[in-house]
Amino acid sequence: MSTVEVMLQKNPKRRSISGPIGKVFLQAFLILVAIVQIYPLIWLALFSLKDNSEIFSGDVAGLPKAFLWSNYTKAMSDGHVLTYFMNSVLVTAASIVLVLILSSMTGYAITRMNWKLSGLTMTIILLGMMVPIHAALLPLFIILKNLGLLNSYWSLIIPYVAFGIPMAVFILGSFFKGIPREMEESAVIDGCGIYRTFFSIILPLVTPAISTVAIFTFLSCWNELMFAVTFINNTAYQTLTVGMMSMVGTYITQWGIIGAGLMITTVPTVVIYLLLNKQVQKSMIAGAVKG
């Protein structure tokens, strides 16, 4: 069991916290914090269902009088949110798949195969974890422009994959290290080639690491703004983050529609989180305790 799993395990020994009054006070405090953390999002959900007159009438915090689902259809069609959404799905999915393929192969070669430069390669790749993306923005812009790739899906997928690789190689590599040698030995003795050994024996053993990397890559690509706003200005290729910015410009006075757009951006992430919350939390911790 990894340290991360130990960290997230419940301690079976329950121990009471100093007296009933202390307990009530503590719970009240925790609930208050929970409200502060979650209420802005509930408020967003509510105003995404209202019209302007209701929002501006002063009752900003109340329930909508009538639930205006039309805000959502308007955001989807007139506001192009559906296009942005599909673009985000496509860019994110492609980035996740490519990150997984490239970094699992590289991580495997570095940790399990014998070659002189493996240590150096690992060091070079890990350097990438410390570099802020700002550093590469202008040179990348110029490279993509010269290749004629600005305003295409590739202008986002290529940088997202490249910047996702270091963390992915690190996480997958540390899982590969934990696999016993005998697994590979017996596979080879049974006549498996290296590719077969890797794809059908080794990869299935590291599914937890694969899902960790997938979640991590999903979050960073789905939410990325700086590259997306620089490399793409054609609505047809804009992702949700950039699309939301241009949408706010267009619908500056129609809060309900903007709210609906923001909800459409947010809901998939929150749903994935609620479904996989342990796995998500583990992957965030794994990303932090790399050092």
């Binding site: 340290t3 960290m7 997230l8 395990q9 301690n11 916290i17 503590l26 719970q27 925790l30 929970a34 979650i38 802005p40 999002l41 501006f56 900003v60 915090a61 490239l102 590289t106 495997y108 070669a109 570095i110 399990r112 195969m113 014998n114 390669t121 070079i124 790749i125 990438g128 410390m130 570099v131 802020p132 700002h134 550093a135 590469a136 923005l137 202008l138 040179p139 940088p159 994959v161 910047f163 690789i165 270091p166 190689v169 080879v188 080639g193 703004l225 700086m226 706003v229 949700l240 939301m244 910015m245 903007i258 923001l262 919350n277 998500v280 939390q281 965030m284 911790i285 932090a288 305790v289």
Partner: protein, 289 residues
């Protein structure tokens, strides 16, 4: 066996695509950036080599200095406001309080949401006329405090820090929670046997043992503050009157609005160096203690 696992061709197939992509897109551009920072270049034609002039100009430019000051204030607020709150929450949740899983899950939700959404949401919360914050102040009888939070020089910087605090408190809480959970139960048991109070145990035993994870949190929050871009770009665009401008938004404006490629690159190099120096500093600080 050995021949299978040291086959040069196979290794090349496994490693080369990644390495080429990584070097071409991440590594080389960083060096290219440092080269651009030595040029006077507007992106058209060839840049003129001017040595370190951009850096000299940077440290005389009040707009740059102001943006650096703002990012330092962001870092300070993260370290002295956000991290203590996260630590308290983490220690409470790690002490087997009822509903710990639920709270941990809820506190973490904002971390996952796109900063663009968070910035839009908070710009609505801060809205001078109809925003949630002013309405809340009015409803508790503090109408005199209601104001245009993001539009005024005095309040804009503090107001743009709050959303970051709100968003990442859950992240640091989770890291510290994991750190607190990994402290051995035997040690805590022993402290309790010796009659140490909960607060005493937290202060003298938990926190010292959580040092590695506290270091990670510290590095992340300081570097995060130096890198902050999305939030400011969407929330205020650096205004009003540059009061919320940070190096990354200034770099962006310098490159893509005023087309000073060389000068903008110098700012980006400054951001990298700032992050590296801080990481090294914090690491060595934690080592000597």
């Amino acid at each position: 066996m050995n021949s299978v696992f040291s086959n040069k061709g196979t290794i090349a197939v496994f490693v080369l695509p990644t390495l080429l992509l990584f070097c071409g897109i991440v590594l080389i551009p960083i060096f290219v950036s440092s080269y651009y920072s030595l040029l006077d270049w507007n992106g058209v034609g060839r840049g003129k080599f001017i040595g370190l002039d951009n850096y000299v100009e940077m440290f005389k430019d009040t707009r740059v200095l102001n943006s650096i000051k703002n990012s330092l204030l962001f870092a300070g607020a993260s370290v002295f406001i956000q991290l203590p709150i996260s630590l308290v929450l983490a220690l409470i949740l790690a002490s087997n309080v009822k509903g710990e899983g639920f709270y941990r899950t809820v506190y973490f939700i904002p971390v996952l949401i796109s900063t663009v959404v968070i910035a839009q949401l908070w710009s609505k919360i801060y809205n001078a006329d109809y925003g949630l914050l002013n309405v809340l102040l009015q409803s508790i009888g503090l109408s005199s405090l209601a104001q245009d939070w993001l539009g005024q020089k005095d309040t804009a910087l503090a107001a743009s820090f709050i959303p970051t605090l709100w968003q990442y408190v859950g992240y640091h809480m989770l890291l510290m929670y994991a750190g607190a959970k990994s402290v051995s139960q035997d040690v805590l048991e022993a402290a309790r046997m010796d009659g140490a109070s909960r607060i005493r145990t937290a202060w003298s035993i938990m926190i010292p043992l959580m040092k590695p994870i506290l270091k990670v949190s510290l590095v992340f929050s300081v570097i995060g503050a130096f890198k902050v871009f999305d939030l400011i770009y969407v929330l205020t665009g650096g205004g009003p009157f540059y009061t919320t401008e940070v190096p990354s938004t200034l770099m962006y404006a310098t490159i893509f609005d005023t087309f000073r490629y060389g000068y903008g690159s110098a700012i980006s190099v400054f951001i990298i160096v700032e992050c590296l120096v801080c990481t090294i500093l914090i690491n060595s600080l934690f080592k000597t203690e």
